[in-house]
Amino acid sequence: MKQFLSFVKKEFFHIFRDKRTLFILLGMPIAQIIIFGFALTNEVKNAKIAILDHSKDASTASLITEIESSRYFEIAESLHSDADIQTAFHKGIVKMVMVLPSNFGNNLKHFNKAQVQLIADASDPNVANQLVNYASAIIRDYQKRITNNRQLPYTINTEIRMLYNPQMKGSYNFVPGVMAMVLLLVCTMMTAITIVKEKETGTMEILLVSPVKPMRIVIAKAIPYLLLSTINIFTILLLSVFVLEVPINGSLILLLAVSILFILVSLSLGLLISAGADTQQTAMFISLIALFLPTVMLSGFMFPIENMPTPLRVVSNIVPAKWYYNIVKTVMIKGLGVTAIWKELLILSGMLMFFLSLAIKKFKIRLA
Amino acid sequence: MSEQKAITTNKLTKKFGDFTAVDEISFEVNKGEIFGFLGANGAGKTTAMRMLCGLSLPTSGEATVAGLNVYKENEKIKRSIGYMSQKFSLYDDLTVKENMRFYGGIYGKSNAFIKQKTAYILDHLHLEKEANVLVKSLPLGWKQKLAFSVAVFHAPEIVFLDEPTGGVDPVTRREFWNMIYVAAAGGTTVFVTTHYMDEAEYCDRVSIMVDGRIDALDTPIRLKEKFNAASMDEVFLKLARKAARAAD
């Protein structure tokens, strides 16, 4: 045990001596929270659009003012002919063009009917969809106003309640995702790389001839990262509660306990990768391809899993981060207890057992 | 500066923060001689050598290598020197031949020269069969001899060797020194650090560094006389005992 502790101490020295690495490891969650919390929104704002007004009358002028005054749009260009539309899109600045045909005001006044054409640049379908929706809503409001808000007969009203996240904050969705991402990165990638580094530089052999059991050496390397990850969890939780105002509705202890379980799963994955890789470069690429990308793409935090084709949905089940992400959402945001997450807990524990025994087996073969 | 001297230094100093690794050393190395640069671990040998090779900028003092100033003409110096570092520094993942071709090439040697020299070295080291073998699969002794051959591949005026025989068996060390003699006989100045005292006896002149300063400099025979010692080992121990700096 004493020897084991001295190994752990050595690993801590390695990490604390390298101030830059330490700085990045501890700064990473902060940067992610800031980026996700303040820079990324799925809501489109200030989209640059162009107007092609063939009519140029009082009605089109007031409609254009309505559009311009909304926070969704910024009129970047006034076009003069249909041919201009293509050119405007090719330059890539304008995302939508609103075309008002000639006699717009006249038609509206005399025939009670007029047309507006919205042409969206659908190379980004998401933005195109939203812009058309927003513009349509503004036009409909405008129409309502000119008809004096007359109430129609036989109207079905809908009343909408947003559960758990009434202000529709994006942070409710990504805080759990950031936690999964950071933990995986620190635990899996860093552990794998440090162990492989000792292999690469040959110091591993020196350690292996010491009287300490090989598996203990490897575990000693993982322990500092366990500590760093725990610090990261606290950073993320503090930032989300005090800066992003995402509450912790459930039990903090339960949240920490499941996070430690996930950290252990990530560490065992790191060990597994290090058993298979011979150079740091290989270890890094495996971590990136086999772990990081699936976590970002398939855990449900960037893209909804239910949209994916069946094979991907099946694959997503073996991504540990998916289960952890579900647990954090359930415990932290919905505020539910163990009974709501027993299935996920069971799966994560199973994964831990599996990865760990596989890693140990692989190490034994290599070290024997 | 004198035309006859391969290396001259005058109060050459290197500080790392408060720590003075090399403390005002002054010495001269004649052309064509084998100059032994001795000292305990941490005495400042490698730092001094790195300054002369243009790998490290001196804090103060003067030095010339091959008649060129180490401050201003360090890139020019590099054309005239060869270097073999403590750490084995050939490319593990290149073959014996590829390493030689690469280093010959970046020193601007012609293809004909590279070809001829490669054949010559392979023949002398009896490595013809291993010419296309990856360097990482060679035994350590061969690697060291190969590293030396690569360091003198471009026929430099001066070659710097930083503990070239560390971890090598006595037979190989003997062979290694034969190679050094051959190079010196061809007119190359050899500047070698070592902590094997028996190797010091092979040098024309020897300097002994203690705590960043040069405490003694002379031929091995005269040093032994001066310190009243039977071997260089004894000379070294007498000097090293005064060292304040702990060896690392």
Binding site: A120, I156, I289, P304, E306 | L55, L57, K87, S89, I106
Partner: protein, 372 residues
Amino acid sequence: MRTLKFLLQKEFRQIFRDPSIIRLIFMMPVIQLLILPWAADYEIKNIKLSVVDKDHSDYSRQLIAQVTSTGYFQLAVYTNSYPEALEQVESGNADLILEIPSSFEKELIKEDESTLFLAMNAIDGVKANLGSAYLQSIIQDFNKEVRIEWIQFPRFSPETQIEITSSNWFNPLMNYKYFMVPGILVILLTMIGTNLSSINIVREKEIGTIEQINVTPVKKFHFILGKLLPFWLIGLVVLTIGLFISWAAYGIVPVGSFITIYAFAALYLFAVLGLGLLISTYAQTQQQAMLLSFFIMMVFILLGGLYTSIDSMPDWAKWVTRFNPVSYFIEVMRMVVLKGSGLIDIKRHLLIMFGFAVVLNSWAIINYRKRS
């Protein structure tokens, strides 16, 4: 120039001698391009709906039938108690509750007005927004049918109407893959380029071979260029593989010319490789280099405009994206691949990228010191 030849020869030999890296370099684009675009689909389908029907009327049944027939919603639970429906949301079996109150049909006919309740699991805000918008539009359609049933149409018609027609150019079928695949290709090139080059010089530092190079008269410029060119070529090969897969798997053929894509990619690779080499000259260990390049990459990719639109970012983040090479390349890819923009359209992007390449590489050359 001759020195450069020898440097290049050495780098190529070393790269191709490590089969694991070569395999990864070429596997990565194939796997990523085959899998990721399928996952990256923002269109919401299969929303799990739980219906609380307290009315049990013709109208309530018609409404439910209409909602479930659209394909967006899947009827997961049908009950008459709200708490039970809520439980299903908590356990993750349902995303959305539609509550039809007991006198829904009666009030609608007798009092001209009736109210439905929607409750949405809003942890995922986008999904909640889109889901409730879909449901509302279905309800509105249903409302229209009810009106037609009860009112003679002529009385209704003089209502002022602005007819909105919309069209989606460049991607009329709103295919998300057209949008994601070029973006993913950019990310791939960036990851491979920066990671490979950022590790490279540090690796020589760690092994010690850099000392041997530093005592040779090799020019810094040549040394950096010797490191850069092999990866530059690999990057272009990866791009070619990627474009091939985009065509073979997704039928994406650039509307613009390949020359435009390759011209920009060539400059872009110089910029990101320069960034990698710059990281490499600062880092002391491979671990540091990897972590640093990973960190920068993460910021660049997240703020690159692939996942969320740059227009909607706050000013400080927009300012950051101006220094983000990834965002320029993603924009250019979309312009060229989907809209057919030519070299003249991307003139500004080309100039900026040229600037990035020059600054980053010169910085790397200056910062690489042969003497400490």
